[in-house]
Symmetry: C2
Subunit: 393 residues, 2 copies
């Protein structure tokens, strides 16, 4: 795909077709404020570029029946989501529906060269499966702050070796298509906005609880990235003055109390100190514990595990309550690996937020788990690159 | 003024003339992406409406010299800022420069009828002074959350009697011009954005420390009001788990520790408990203490007063540090009555933020006092109504 929309109207039409699927001219006309003749001009130009094609007869609304139009069905986007401990790669159609998806465990600390090698292997497998021959664009998320315009990670705490690495440029060369890079948490938010629980919600926050804890912020339908691309970096908000030592050097940060790392550490302590036979037996078996162990132990009724989840939820809820007072979102989405902890965690977070924020901000505030699970990030990545390509050049 | 811009281009031109003053067509052409002929069409239409007028010859850039154009110099906006304990009213010219400004002490708890009577008296005085005969529009700020589209306060905690009062409609009838209503803190932020320290900063927060503590949020150049208009309501963010009882019913809120009310209460305790001879003597003289007494005592070197300011600054800084991590603003502005506490307060807030937020968010983050003082709110109010009038009808 080399063509790009020639103006803002064409860009808007492309996004409408992406999000709404094949549409009649009459349907598009209802959405955009263009006269019938101006709409016809813009649609004709898009047909000329090959970005959209005619597609079957539209339902009659009286008068001569016209063809539906749709995005060129051969368009393919690649969504790549690099997490702390795994990589997801997916191929989508132009409506951002996932045609193929692969997941592979991988430690992001192995560095960009090893991770990209893995990504390209996965891309090759997806091509071999026949879902795509080439790609019109790719979005990629990394677990750290990104200088967005350049597509370069900056000072990412859990990604040594990635600082300043030209992710966008390097990947674009390898794949031979345009690439956009963002923080993994922003992409999760965009994924839920595209195809998940946050569709049609203009202002929401999406809290990702994985190894660490971060937050995607959507304001007026657009991701808010902040002045240096570090917006949503909530893992080091203080929850306890003079509290626990955190890896960042401060005391009392949220991540010193919760997130995959803190949970694993606390679970191992509980096992070693004889507070949980269930966790102790799991530790003996595997030599280490993870959030998944805590989830499983809690599901089996282990009191110590339930306490860890409830306590972590309350700490997280305490931080989110402050953000709700500040930002007054219309929705709070909780996602990330730790959502395996499920409704015990959600209940604890909810209780804290409803208790601590003022009624005006929480009166109609849904606090829900994300819907897309492991494909939230790759869906958001596909949205990111399609937003870019469906903008005036 | 009944004319409104006919499209987004005309709206943009009006705002450019408001913010940049009289301009040549060439200068305007540099700012808007319009061909010379299209620009001429839009300017001509604006001249026809009477919203803009020709104004002297522009400097030559080669070729035939043309006239500057400017907003009709007779346009007058009214800015009204209702605080917890005083009312400010100002008249501006079309460039939002203040032509006349009055301040009157008034307790907002006297209710909308008494407050509006006061406002109208002040408006009358300003008219009598000759700065305006009538008004093309008015903006008004109130110290509580506002349902923005309707211009109605909702459940304002410090404004009994205002809940649901149709401020916009009532004032519009009295004044005979369009009115827009917003939270006082949002207007302070818009004032600093218009004519103060936040000019040209797309993403910033403006923390107002008055009787209570609130925060205006500007994202992408636009005020973020939140889903129910309560965004920026940071006075009840928890700073101390299991901390002091707050008037809102929760424990450990920021306002339980700082803001005009908390400061007065803590100063009176210090006076009564013999911790400050300076405050005790002031209390004996006037029967009560305010933030201004603490400021004066601190300036005279009173240790207890300095401690109160430093401690309050640290608590406030703790909350702002969290907001900085979350929102990653390009600037933090501190304003409101308590800024009489000046640089001791600012230093304490700064120390806490720089200590507690991550370097990526604070590396280039200025934390400064507002520039406009008592006219920030009325300037923001004039911007609010002119933004509304300088939008397509």
């Amino acid at each position: 795909m080399t063509a790009r929309p020639g103006n803002a109207h064409q860009a808007r039409l492309l996004r409408l077709l992406r999000d709404g699927g094949p549409s009649s001219r009459a349907q598009l006309g209802d959405e955009v404020e263009l006269s019938r003749s101006k709409l016809a001009v813009e649609v004709d130009r898009l047909l000329e570029t090959g970005l959209v094609v005619a597609d079957g007869l539209a339902a009659s609304r009286g008068g001569r029946r016209s063809h539906n139009i749709r995005l060129a069905p051969g368009l393919r986007f690649l969504g790549i989501d690099i997490g702390a401990t795994s990589v997801d790669v997916a191929v989508t159609n132009p409506e951002l529906e996932i045609l193929g998806h692969l997941n592979h465990p991988m430690d992001v600390r192995e560095g960009p060269v090893a991770v990209f090698e893995q990504v390209l292997t996965m891309v090759g497998k997806l091509k071999d499966s026949g879902v795509a021959e080439g790609f019109d664009g790719a979005g990629i998320g990394v677990p750290g702050p990104v200088r967005f315009p350049e597509g370069v990670p900056v000072a990412p705490p859990i990604m040594p070796g990635w600082d300043g690495f030209p992710v966008r440029e390097a990947l674009s060369q390898e794949l031979g298509c345009p690439v956009m890079v963002d923080n993994d948490v922003n992409l999760m938010a965009m994924g839920e906005q595209q195809a998940g629980v946050a569709r049609h919600v203009p202002d929401f926050i999406c809290v990702k609880i994985g190894t660490g804890i971060g937050c995607g912020i959507v304001a007026g339908g657009t991701v808010h990235r902040g002045t240096t691309g570090s917006a949503g970096d909530i893992g080091h908000i203080q929850v306890e003055p003079r509290g626990r030592q955190c890896a960042c050097g401060n005391r009392g940060c949220l991540e010193a109390y919760f997130g995959g790392s803190a949970l694993a550490r606390d679970a191992e302590s509980a096992a070693r100190e004889g507070r949980s036979a269930e966790l102790a037996s799991r530790l003996e078996t595997s030599g280490r514990l993870t959030g998944a162990d805590v989830a499983a132990a809690a599901a089996a009724g282990d009191g110590a595990s339930l306490d860890l989840i409830r306590d972590g939820g309350a700490r997280t809820g305490q931080v989110i309550a402050g953000l709700v007072s500040f930002f007054n979102p219309g929705l709070v989405v909780i996602g990330g690996g730790v959502t395996g902890l499920g409704h015990t965690l959600l209940a604890s977070i909810r209780t804290q937020i409803y208790h601590q924020s003022l009624p005006l901000a929480t009166g109609n505030l849904p606090i829900v788990l994300g819907e897309l699970g492991q494909v939230a990030g790759v869906t958001g990545a596909a949205r990111l690159i399609s937003d870019h390509l469906f903008s005036p050049a």
